[in-house]
């Protein structure tokens, strides 16, 4: 009888000790291991920039949950990236308060400056541009979020200035 070759990959070795520690901490405060799924995706994304297929398998292994279920969770959320993204991900709010205060002007300026559209990454890999639902800064609209920073009361010029500053920043070595 013919047998099919299978490969067993040890995904425990794929994740770093600090990733595993952070994920285990999350799992310890929930009643089930799978409940730590979102946090685990975020932990890995924080370390690696995005969630690759390998990362997804590794996490599902560690949390002993079906990979399809984890994938369903991963793709459900706006802030989990299932594709490689640039060093800085720009989340420009396109909800109503920002719409009423001309986020469109800001969007055009960013597109022009970076020469990319929504969903694209600049050639130097510095920036990815995404939209975001209301960022909770509606009284200071328009707003964008890059990393954990919220930039408020944007004008087209100020948005470009912020991007220039970020582009010139030295990477911490």
């Amino acid at each position: 009888m013919e047998t099919i070759d299978t490969i067993t990959i040890d995904y425990q070795h794929y994740l770093t000790a600090s990733e595993i520690a952070a994920i285990e901490h999350e799992a310890s405060i929930m009643e089930t291991r799978e409940a730590a799924g979102i946090e685990a995706l975020k932990v890995v994304q924080n370390h690696r920039g995005w969630v690759s297929d390998d990362s997804l398998y590794a996490i599902s292994d560690l949390l002993a949950m079906p990979v399809a279920q984890l994938e369903g969770v991963a793709t459900f959320y706006n802030l989990i990236y299932r594709q490689a993204v640039g060093e800085h991900v720009i989340h420009l709010c396109d909800s109503i308060a920002c719409h009423l205060t001309d986020m469109n002007g800001v969007l055009e300026a960013i597109k022009q400056h970076l020469q990319i559209d929504y969903g694209q990454t600049t050639q130097d890999g510095k920036f990815t541009l995404l939209s975001n639902a209301c960022l909770g800064g509606c009284d200071k609209a328009p707003v964008m979020m890059i990393g954990s920073m919220h930039y408020e009361q944007l004008t087209p010029d100020r948005a470009v200035e912020i991007l220039q500053q970020l582009a010139n920043q030295e990477l911490p070595s």
Partner: protein
């Protein structure tokens, strides 16, 4: 009672809130912090606190305005304080705040995190929950940091953990930070999200109060709702009702955004009128603009217009004029922004954030987006308005599992009523009058058509 500890009657929730530098544990205690929790745990039984909350008339600030005490009373009330609780129960603070135009909870989370921690101790004690979560939206990074700090301090001072302040009550409190999806704010979807599942809502019944997180009784309350508890415990039911004697009890954090002079948040006695919020606090419209209409409580509420401005912003009064108090955050439309474009923006949000479970919502919201886009771009037909009205019926209450779809309908159906002329004008003129490029394109097409017509006529001569 020490006078210094009596909460300001005007704005108990935000009086000590400071988003630049929130009070730490000591500072919070100096301003009367943890006195409410102390009173609950050491001077009252859970049932007494429940009666207090019921009598206070506190209604949920998360959008639906459901009486908080009544909601809690559905939880099977075996006592978790005797240490022999037959099974666990859960308390969850809903800090998912993703409704466009709503930013009030952020002020409480970033500006006075200890208040929420204290509030959750009181609520958990009352329903007999030994485990509680703050379900925080992923974008609120600063809030996550500050809440964690406050929680750590509370553990250090035995306001969390085992046998709090020598009582028999123990509580573990965790922050769960989400990853950006509006539907997670719906309480049953939130519970699925916390369990690590795809965050679709659940069919009800069973209601979460009976079978919620991990199948156990669960109470989900909005951040602002909970934040009232320390003050009710500290100052009493009479004080709470006296804040707004003619309206729903207590204060409310109102907000305003759009092109008003001073966008922001104000904690006022419940029942301030739309006019007071819009003109006395938000300063009216920016120079050169006039008022067209507003959504009184976030993106999923019906438009109101000038004739409604004297309506008090409480649950019943706003409902009487055909809208909902929702989250109490005004989204203000001026005369130079297009109402069709505004509704299109809102509908796009709902279409994007629909979880896809129910057909009317999954298919209806993108369909509405398509029609609205066509109208906004000058390709609409009069029949499109009928289609939109029909879609409003298809997506109305009772036809879907959760309130996202009816919420999406509210701004649309009211815009069709109050801004009917704008819709017609778009259709008749084939362009959007608020948008110079659209008009120019249309004029260009028209001029080109005229020219070729006249050329044809000349040629024909």
């Amino acid at each position: 009672m020490n006078d210094a500890f009596v909460s300001s009657s005007i704005c108990p929730l935000t009086q000590w809130a400071d988003v630049r530098q929130p009070l730490d544990f000591d500072g919070y205690c100096q301003h009367g912090g943890y006195q409410g929790a102390k009173s609950a745990l050491l001077e009252h039984s859970p049932n007494e606190v429940l009666e207090l909350v019921k009598n206070s008339g506190l209604k949920g600030r998360g959008g639906a305005g459901f009486p908080t005490g009544m909601k809690w009373s559905f939880v099977p009330m075996f006592d978790a304080n005797d240490g022999n609780a037959p099974e666990n129960k859960y308390l969850v603070a809903n800090a998912d705040e993703m409704e466009p135009g709503t930013f009030k909870d952020r002020l409480l989370l970033e500006g006075i995190p200890h208040q929420l921690v204290e509030a959750m101790i009181i609520a958990a004690f009352t329903i007999g929950a030994n485990k509680a979560y703050i379900f925080l939206r992923g974008e609120y990074h600063l809030a996550a940091k500050r809440l964690q700090q406050a929680i750590n301090e509370a553990y250090q001072h035995n306001w969390l953990g085992d046998k709090i302040q020598g009582s028999t009550f123990s509580l573990e409190l965790y922050v769960h930070s989400s990853a950006g999806r509006y539907i997670c704010g719906e309480e049953t979807a939130l519970i699925n999200a916390l369990e690590g599942k795809r965050a679709n809502p659940r069919a009800k019944p069973p209601f979460p109060q009976v079978a919620g997180l991990f199948g156990k009784p669960t109470i989900v309350n909005n951040v602002e709702t909970l934040s009232n508890l320390p003050h009710i415990l500290k100052n009493g039911v009479d004080w709470f009702q006296a804040i707004a004697p003619e309206s729903d009890a207590g204060s409310k954090i109102y907000g305003a955004c759009g092109r008003v002079k001073i966008p922001g948040l104000w904690e006022l006695p419940m029942g301030a009128t739309l006019r007071e919020v819009l003109f006395d606090h938000a300063g009216g419209m920016q120079d050169g603009l006039t008022f067209r209409g507003l959504l009184p409580g976030g993106a999923s509420t019906d438009f109101l217009v000038a004739e409604h401005l004297d309506t008090p912003m409480d649950y019943d009064s706003i409902a009487k004029v055909g809208s909902r108090l929702g989250t109490g955050g005004l989204i203000v439309l001026d005369n130079k922004n297009c109402p069709v474009a505004m509704v299109l923006n809102l509908m796009r949000f709902f279409a994007q954030e629909s979880c896809g479970w129910c057909t009317p919502c999954r298919d209806g919201t993108p369909w509405a987006v398509e029609i609205l886009t066509r109208i906004e771009n000058g390709h609409g037909k009069v029949e499109d308005l009928d289609s939109l009205n029909k879609l409003c019926d298809f997506m109305w209450i009772g036809k879907t599992h959760c309130a996202l779809a009816p919420g999406a309908v509210e701004p649309l159906r009211s815009a069709l009523k109050y801004f009917h002329d704008d819709f017609l004008e778009h259709i008749e003129h084939g362009c959007c009058h608020y948008n110079p490029t659209s008009v120019a394109k249309r004029t260009h097409v028209a001029t080109a058509a005229l020219k070729s017509q006249s050329r044809a006529m000349q040629g024909g001569q």
